[in-house]
Structure formats: C-alpha cells, structure tokens
C-alpha cells in the first residue's frame, strides 16, 4: 500500500515540477501537494477496482477462494517483481521452471490463469492497491439499519395492541352480562319485578307481519341476494385465482426479474418452443449462483426477509445441487427440489405456450400479471374458459411476418369483411382447439 502511494506520488511530483513555473509561491505548492495526495490514492483504488472487476473477478474473490485463490493482501505474500511477471504471464513462468509459480499451479489443480500482457506495471499496482484496500467501517450504516428495524416494530406493536383491545372488550361484555344476570337474580329474590318494555318491538313486528306487500318484497330480496351469493360461491369452485403456495426454496421473482432484470425466458426457456414453459433445472440457477453465494440486495425487514434469510435460501439451492462451497466443486449428492405447481389447467384442456409466446407474441405479463413485482408467486388470472374465450374474441391475429398463413388469413378477412382478424374468427372458439 505505502509503496504504491509513494511511486505514484513521486510521479505526480515530477509532473508537477515540469508543469509548474518557478515563481510559484511555496505554500500554495504544498496545499496542492496535499490535495493531490488524497486524490491520487482515491484514483488508484477506483481504477484498480474497475480493472479488477473487468479482468480478475471472474476467477478471484477478495475474501474467498473461487477458481483462483483469494487475493486480499496478496501483495504481502510475494515479491513485487514476481507479481508483475506472474500476472502478465503466469504460464511462461511455469514453463521457465519458477518454483513458487509451479507450487501454486499444482495446488490449484493445474488450472491456467489467463495472461494479461496488456496490463502495465502501473495497472497492476492499482489492482494490488485495491486488493489491499480495507474500507473504513461506515458508521452511518448501523444507525440506518437500526432505524429500519424500529420501523418494523410498530406494525407488530399495533397488532398486539389491537389484540389486547379485543380481549378487553370481550371481557367487558361478559362482565356486563354477568353483572346484569346477578343483579336480576338478586332483584327477583328480593321480590322486585322489573318490567321490560316488551310491547314496543312487538308492535313493529306485528305491523310488519300484517303488511303482506312488505313481506313479499323482503322475501324476494332475501332470495335474490342469497341466490347472488350462492352463484358467486359456486362460480369460484375450482378457480385458483390468488393461489400462493409456499415453495421449498423462497425464490423471489421480484429480486431476479424485477431488481436484476433477468429475462423470463432465461429460466423458462422452453416457453419459446413448446407447450410448457417449464421450471428451470438447477444447472440454470448455477450459471449465476456458482458465483453469487450470498445475498447483498435490498431487505424487507417487516416481513422478516433479511440478508441472512435470503443467503440461507441460496444455501438450500447448494444443498439440492450438491455444490460444495469450500472446494468449489460438485459432490454429486443431489436431491430434487419439489416446487409446488401453481398454474394448472384440467387435463382435458390443451394450452400451448409457444403458440401464444412465439407465434402470437403475447407478453407473459398479460396472462401472469406483474410477476416481476411478486416476492412470492401467485396465480394472477382466473384461468377459466371464459377468460381464454374473452381474449380470443378481443385480440387480433398477428398476421405480419407469418408467411405460412398468408393465404388463409387473406381468405378469412374477405369472408368476414374485416381488415384485422380476431382469433375467434380464425376458429379460436372451436371446442376441439382447446379440448382434446
């Protein structure tokens, strides 16, 4: 670290001497020097970081073994010149028989490190400055998280207070009831008669019974409203709209497709070509998660989704694919993840994703709703027959770039006398198209 700063500084000093004209006042020079000192250090590390991220991070992490060793504090381990030579071309050193080089090469199962002839010594200094850099503990972060956790508490407190209030209310009601009961029994024992004003409600009731029209209309009202509710209840039998089961791994679409904007079809890759969208096999997850071993994104403390919670979920994934983080290798010890199926049409219906996604170009969101905002996935549409039919009545066939059907599309438009064909007009309402 100190070496780096001195070399770059001496460079900037000599540059300064070249560019500064002699009559410059001495103290202003010192001011300049001090500011330069700070900025030179910052630039080093920032530059080193971007070089590191672009060139080295695919194989090295700072604190953890990846494909190559952890690089934190590596400059203390080796001689500077040796490091320059190694980073520029490690293979050449191994060939030349450098003992230290061969030892590391053997230790890492003879995985070759890329050669970086394009990096200058200065670049390498910057990178090493970055790998040595220890960030000062950020004092504000603790207070921020403290504030967040305190915002999490009120809702819990509210719940507790509400619950307490309800209990108190219930206790009061029972007490009142008991009190009146004992009071009346005492009164009865004492021979006091309490006359209750029973006559009034009865007179209204009697008037109501006598009025036949009122009875008739209220019976009709009652029947209609119960028919309404019964109909509503029966129509939702077998409809799983809003179904949101608990999955074996808390996999969040909000984090993957919302925050990190991963395309739906990266994982649901068979939607393009087949009936099913499919759930990705775990090797697809490991394309990213061999590298992403812990979660550092946003938290939702109110619901208990902390970083540890999410990181723990990633460990579940590792357990299922049999990935050993220590050795960075697969153990071969796998177990299937039992995802709970959410969308499920009855087996007598034929629904094809490729027809809708590739041919018609319908967006996933149109049927599956705002998936990229769902922390836990739920069924957004009703998936009833009426839902399919409505869309087939309303939307037009994408005729453009669909040469296979040009002729039939033209003939059908002529037949119906329309410019744009709906799917219904193409035969999308025929029972046989959706039912086997």
């Amino acid at each position: 670290m100190s070496v780096v700063r001195i070399t770059t500084l001496s460079k900037s000093i000599s540059n300064l001497f070249k560019s500064l004209v002699s009559p410059l006042a001495l103290n202003s020079f010192f001011v300049l020097l001090i500011t330069l000192n700070i900025s030179a250090q910052d630039v080093d590390i920032a530059k080193g970081k971007s070089l590191y991220n672009a060139n080295c991070a695919s194989c090295h992490k700072l604190n953890k073994k990846l494909i190559g060793p952890a690089l934190k504090g590596v400059s203390a381990k080796y001689d500077k010149e040796w490091l320059y030579a190694w980073i520029k071309n490690s293979a050449a050193m191994i060939k030349a028989g450098d003992e230290q080089a061969i030892a590391i090469y053997e230790e890492y199962n003879k995985v070759a490190m890329n050669a970086f002839p394009q990096l200058s010594n200065e670049d390498i200094d910057n990178i090493l400055a970055y790998t040595d850099y220890v960030p000062e503990p950020v004092a504000t972060s603790t207070t921020v998280s403290g504030a967040q956790s305190s915002t999490g508490e009120p809702s819990l407190a509210n719940d507790i207070i509400l619950g307490l209030l309800i209990v108190v209310l219930l206790v009061l009601v029972t007490m009142l009831y008991l009190v009146t009961k004992t009071l009346t029994s005492i009164a009865e024992k004492n021979g006091i008669k309490i006359d209750q004003p029973k006559s009034e409600p009865f007179s209204i009731w009697k008037a109501f019974i006598k009025n036949q029209f009122l009875i008739f209309s209220s019976v009709v009202l009652l029947l209609l409203s119960s028919a309404y509710f019964a109909y509503g209840y029966m129509m939702q039998i077998g409809v799983d709209q809003g179904y949101m089961p608990v999955q074996p791994i808390h996999y969040s679409h909000k984090i993957h497709s919302g925050a990190n904007q991963i395309e739906c079809q990266y994982c649901h890759s068979s939607a393009r070509v087949s009936k099913h969208s499919g759930i990705p096999s775990l090797n697809v997850c490991m394309n990213c998660h061999e590298n992403i071993a812990e979660y550092n994104g946003e938290e939702d403390l109110e619901k208990g989704y902390t970083k540890e919670f999410y990181t723990n979920e990633i460990k579940k994934l590792y357990k299922a694919v049999g990935w050993n983080e220590e050795t960075q290798s697969y153990t071969g010890d796998t177990e299937p993840v039992k995802w709970v199926r959410i969308h499920n049409l009855p087996d007598f219906v034929y629904f094809n994703h490729a027809q809708h996604v590739s041919v018609a170009g319908v967006d996933c969101n149109k049927c599956h709703g705002p998936v990229e905002e769902m922390e836990i996935l739920y069924q957004y549409s009703s998936l009833t027959m009426g839902w399919c039919i409505d869309c087939h009545r309303d939307s037009n066939v994408k005729v453009k770039d669909n040469e296979y059907y040009t002729k039939i599309h033209e003939e059908l438009s002529k037949k119906y006398g329309v410019e744009e064909l709906t799917i219904a007009q193409m035969g999308g309402l025929e029972c046989g198209k959706c039912h086997y």
Binding site: N53, I67, G238, Y243, P245, Q265, I279, N287, Y378
Partner: protein
C-alpha cells in the same frame, strides 16, 4: 339474550368463512374426475422410476432424432482446437443475425450487456463481476460455440437452454458485436 347469541353466531360465521380462504391451499374442486388423467404430467412425482420423478435422462447410448454429436472435448486443448478449426454451418445473413440478436438479449445480455462490452445489468449492480468485453478476448465463432456448449471458468454452459442451430445464430451475432466493438 337472543340478540347476543345471534350476534356471536354471526361473528363466528364470518370468522369461519374468512379462515377458510387460505391462499396457500388450492380451492375446492367439483367432481374433478376428468381433471387429472392417468398419464403423467410434466415433472410430476412418480414412483415408476427409482429416483421418484417423471422426467428422466435419455437411456445411455441413445440420441434423439436430429441431434448431432459434438466432438471437441471439454478441455483447454478442445477449446483451442474449436477456436482454430470449428466453422459455422450457417451463412451470415440478416435472418440469422436478427434471430441471434433476439436470443442474445434473452440469454446473454444480463451479463455481457446488449453491446457485448461486459456491462450487463448484473455487472453494473456488482452482483456478478469479471465479465469480459468481447473486444478483449480473442474469440471466433467456433470458440464461442464451444463456450456455449461447455461453459468456461465462471460462465456456465447454456446448452440446455438453446439448441445447436440457435447456438450458431448467437455465435454469429456475438462476433458481429465484437467487430463493432473493435472498430
């Protein structure tokens, strides 16, 4: 007295109906006799096979129709060989390029960026580091195909997501991106 029982019954009823609405359970079905056929559905659990799932790997030694074997081994030598001599069977034309672009934006742009400069969204958010710009790597269509087939270092294989023809289309598009970057 009556009123109290009436009200408590009402309250109990409303509690009951509310508690029946459990989002983590599927709804009732009415005579679902034909909802589930005897055939297996995709990825279903099944005790027909030893590992308990319906989806199985093809039997050893069989290949599916239209599948072409890929002869280059997954080693450094195989990679160098593919870089040198593996050529694309597809001609360079607009159709292949636009298909390649579409697929590239789905499968590669999260990491490599839509321009191929290594500045994909995961790199920008510092979730996945160390993604090179195509301009910095000495790649050919053949080596790109090889990398898609087997993966390389931290990049995983994408062979399960795109088929052979699509891999060639993507490779073609990657090389066209690289040419633009180098210019």
């Amino acid at each position: 007295m009556k009123k109290i029982t009436f009200f408590s019954v009402m309250i109990l009823m409303s509690f009951l109906t509310l508690s029946c609405f459990d989002q983590s359970k599927p709804n009732y079905q009415f005579f679902p006799n034909m909802y589930e056929s005897v055939g297996y559905s995709t990825y279903q659990e099944s005790d027909a096979f030893a590992n308990g799932i319906e989806a199985q790997l093809p039997v050893d030694g069989t290949i599916s129709r239209g599948w072409v074997p890929y002869d280059y081994p997954d080693t450094n030598e195989g990679y160098e060989l593919a870089k040198k001599e593996l050529l694309s069977p597809l001609e360079v034309n607009d159709e292949n390029l636009s298909k390649g672009k579409e697929l590239y934006n789905i499968y590669c742009a999260v990491c490599h960026g839509s321009k191929g400069d290594g500045q994909g969204i995961l790199m920008k958010r510092e979730k996945f580091l160390g993604i090179p710009s195509y301009a910095d790597r000495d790649i050919t269509e053949g080596s790109t195909y090889h990398v898609l087939m087997y993966g390389r270092n931290l990049m995983g294989s994408h062979a399960s997501q795109v088929n052979a023809e699509e891999r060639w289309q993507i490779s073609q598009y990657v090389i066209s991106l690289r040419e633009k970057l180098i210019k």
